[in-house]
Assembly symmetry: C2
Homo-oligomer: 261 residues x 2
């Protein structure tokens, strides 16, 4: 086994792959090859990494310390099955796939899961991204932890059961809160109010929970049980059936939670 | 009429009143009296403002340029009705109450609504808070705009119809997204995972919409229509009936929205 990971091959060239490549380059690692089904994507990322690229997995080079699979969840198994090396360290980057999907392929395998929302062309400060690490042996765990430590100060050893739970929680904290912003934007558009007006409120709502638990930070008509305002809001939402349902369930859920406090 | 507002009396001593008082003091305005039903709260805020305080509305001084009502929505009318001056500029700070509630009381009235989530002991940068202004005359509107401009760079003239819509949108963008954080924290607690691990993701989700519309920023299983992950998530939520319902509705709502794109 190598003592540290220096040379990396990235399989995948989407958002996660691109951001991870940039983060690894910043931490002075070498990306020696990029492999992606789409040759255009492979080329784009290959140019960023200043390295070889190919769309053919069987052209994978044998001299990397780590092979990082950053592809959609459904494709991980399929790629793993045609991976040709039995001893190389192979890791995937998914929040909801077990590392066991790699165990028939090689003896050295693991998970290198960055808990973040990645969007192309939106730059990120990598040093705060939590990395969730799991691997087949202690040595592999240490290698992946060491690699992540070059990128970020937030490293966690997380097993599959926890990682799945984390991924579920992240859907609420990220995807669903983002959808709340989206509903708000839609509601404002009906009175031709620019969405910009809500941005300071959104930033402050996110900032507040840095120092206060969200339960304690809750404000608004639901937590005050301000029935008059709630009734008026539901009335205004009568032409948006879906939003009305969401308003009702969220209000009930907030009120139940406050009773449990 | 005065040419500018210099001396202010604040009626109310809760979160909004306290933050507004601090913001006004920072912009070199003088708070000359604080009035609150609770004499303890009146005293606390009076000490912050280094001014008189009282719990009796009939002791209100007659030499202020503005009387600012920052109390719960339900109490605004009740306070207005015992306000003794017929010509003084009187404004409330609510997102969901019409300014007409003040029109029988004085000829000079308006709304001074700061669109932000206020929590005691959480300090705020006031200069980004959007202030929504509406008043009975152009002159009063200008006076309130001028006052807000001393605090913030985001000033909007917003009428009641827009303000109500804005308040409704704010419930989604702030209260409901905060509740999503709270559900995430609860889900994590079942695997004893610290909530801290989600904070960088929450910050990034909020930061991303500064430069990208939330619709375009959406990520996750719903927008990818990743049915396998959605099914697994719903299965994991089977012991949290409310969260399962919210998960289902949010997923459907995200998918409908993406089709409308």
């Amino acid at each position: 086994m190598t003592k540290a990971i220096d040379n990396i091959i990235i399989i995948g060239a989407g958002n996660v792959a691109t951001h991870l490549a940039r983060a690894l380059l910043q931490s002075n690692k070498k990306i020696i090859q990029v492999i992606s089904k789409s040759v255009t994507s492979a080329q784009t990322l290959g140019e960023i990494c200043n390295c070889q690229f190919t769309s053919k997995i069987h052209e994978v080079s044998d001299n990397a310390d780590l092979y990082l699979i950053a592809v959609p969840d459904d494709s991980i198994k399929e790629i793993a099955e045609i991976f040709p090396f039995k001893n190389k360290l192979l890791a995937h980057t998914s929040g909801s796939v077990s590392m066991d999907v790699l165990k028939e392929i090689t003896v050295n395998y693991g998970v290198f899961y960055p808990l973040q929302t990645f969007t192309k062309n939106i730059s990120l400060e990598y040093e705060n991204i939590p990395f969730c690490i799991e691997a087949s042996t202690n040595e592999n765990t240490e290698l992946l932890i060491q690699l992540a430590s070059g990128i970020s100060k937030n490293i966690y050893k997380i097993d599959f059961k926890q990682r799945r739970q984390l991924h579920l929680a992240a859907v609420f904290a990220c995807n669903f809160s983002n959808h709340m912003y989206s509903i708000a934007e839609d509601i404002l558009s009906h009175e031709e109010i620019p969405f910009d007006i809500l941005k300071p409120l959104i930033q402050e709502t996110a900032r507040k929970i840095e120092s206060l638990s969200p339960k304690m930070a809750q404000t608004g008509p639901a937590v005050r049980n301000d029935k008059l305002t709630i009734t008026k809001h539901l009335d205004k939402l009568k032409s948006f059936e879906d939003y009305q349902k969401i308003y009702t369930f969220m209000t009930q859920s907030i009120q139940k939670e406050q009773k449990r406090k």
